[in-house]
Assembly symmetry: C2
Homo-oligomer: 390 residues x 2
Amino acid sequence: MAVIESVDFFYFSMPEVLPIGDGSQDALLVRVRAGQWTGWGECEAAPLPSIASWCCPLSHGACRPVRDSVLGARVDSPAAIRAIGNAVRANSMDLLQADHTLSGIDMALWDLLGKMRGEPAYRLLGYTRAFAKRPYASMLFGDTPEETLAKGRACGLTAAKFGWGPIGKGSPELDAEHFRAAREGLGRYKILLVDIGTAWGDDVERAALALPALEEVKATWLEEPFTSGALAAYKELAGRSTIALAGGEGAHNLDMARHFVDYAGVRFLQIDAGRIGGVSVACDAARYAQARGVRYVNHTFTSHLALAASLAPYAGIESDEICEYPVELQPLAVAITKERLTPGADGLLRLPEAPGYGLTIDVEALQPYCVETEIRVGGRLLYRTPELTQ
Amino acid sequence: MAVIESVDFFYFSMPEVLPIGDGSQDALLVRVRAGQWTGWGECEAAPLPSIASWCCPLSHGACRPVRDSVLGARVDSPAAIRAIGNAVRANSMDLLQADHTLSGIDMALWDLLGKMRGEPAYRLLGYTRAFAKRPYASMLFGDTPEETLAKGRACGLTAAKFGWGPIGKGSPELDAEHFRAAREGLGRYKILLVDIGTAWGDDVERAALALPALEEVKATWLEEPFTSGALAAYKELAGRSTIALAGGEGAHNLDMARHFVDYAGVRFLQIDAGRIGGVSVACDAARYAQARGVRYVNHTFTSHLALAASLAPYAGIESDEICEYPVELQPLAVAITKERLTPGADGLLRLPEAPGYGLTIDVEALQPYCVETEIRVGGRLLYRTPELTQ
């Protein structure tokens, strides 16, 4: 019987982090060990609060540190992994950050179980095969339409998403110039996706002003026109738009993903496995969406470890064709894994068939990015960066 | 022009914290200073992750530490306070814990502005008067029905809520015994409220089994039968129940509060101002509920500072009659304020008419509970417990 003996968090960062829409500037990796087995996962964003959620003192019965539900738990089956997630959600119910911390742990557990069983993670999730996905190059809009045009031209994939940067913050006319530049850069036949990065809050009328230009450039989806919780605004815009709406990356549990499907009228559900509670919950969300005719897409803006883990939850759903593929990664995010997931000659992305996620963490390459961290509470050392080894 | 010059977090704890449903065993206080003015607030639960969210390094443009949106900001009007909250939500969008950290800060800002203007916080929120509320004694169920009976008998208020403890975890018959014991203990005329503490997950059939006994004892509401996000389960149960449903304490932003009103069919919306983003957001939630015929109630299981701050958001709404009043506070939670909010001879609770929340923090009494905390990241000291003064 394999039980979790250690869970170690490693905080990495670029020497300089800029306030731009690039989530690959820092990283929080999680290493889980059980017997002779090791698995790796990654929590999305804000490493320090996620570490604090792991090791903080108990507040009360429904606000326990995440560690209390994880250390010593069995990890010998898919059901055992799911039981750990359920325990964290119950025991850390009032610890808001816990879902993000759990995400990296759950990710690591599927990697570990895959290695234990000699199977890729997607198969442990119940899929008999992993379908190739069409990766879209995930990029920031340029600062000017000219820059957006150049980015579109340089895109080597058959699909691209432009997001953040200046979009949605100026006039509808400026946005339209960027949309047209993106389409011109990509050419007529590539898939164009547009991401507003929640810039319109819940302002349906402002969003509606963008629809003609998005239709003109044949955008496949309009992503996050509104903040994550603005379900009614999504629903209203969906009723007025021929462009499919996409959203859901802010969901930090299965219920929130369901709400997007049930109440928001989105046609694409975007889930970040590094936020929603890991691969387990992401997989539940993919199946929930599939049963209701909504397409599932990974949200990934960090490493290829996060990418591989984010693809597993919907690997076996053939109709969910496209996947997010970050193309502007910082050197730190590239350094995380020795192997990369690269599209084949046909432009499609395939998951490794090796055990777990089939990736090796490059501890040597990561060393220079390691951020030494120490937390002391009431005279006790609660956390200190552990030694970085395989 | 008053700008925020300092925001200091203080972590307090009982010497021993038990894994029971008692949220008063630790506390995170926030002191905000602007010019000659000081305001105090309190974040609900998990002090360490909330401190980490304040001072963590930047991850990316939408994942900034809370401090980046607060320090140096103007705080000379209600609109200025709301602008700070909006900035935190935008700049820390991907930092999950940020809403809890913001809650204590926002709470402190209304206290500070109240002192600056010489007005109680509720008046700054737009209410011309504060109506007296009927406090209900908020207690845990006893370990046995006999103990629940004794707690009911000892209740000195005209309303009581029993929650957590063994309830919902055993048989429907055992639950019914507790409900009857609670009613017997309270006598025929007092208001009886029942809190399941999310024990039934999203299991509507299990919840339905409790309805006959709840009807028999004339419970005024059934609180949190399900987890916070199980809106569809709430809705279904609401359609089958003559007992009003209550919920919402898990909401950490206005959208989630709205979802409870719009999709869950609750007749009581319970908001914790220490979680939802503070008094500003709680007040928005109260008005949203009022406009839709849903009654607003504070959720408060900590100090009288949190209690006073939690009453301000709906102080002026006469039809929202009842309020949660914790009666089993740990000595730490009692020590926080020099003054207490106690019901008058008529059993009703009134907010102080003094500036802010009208309460004084008792720094001497708090000193023994102070938990020295230190966070270092990349060789830099990001946080150390500041000196505890007024």
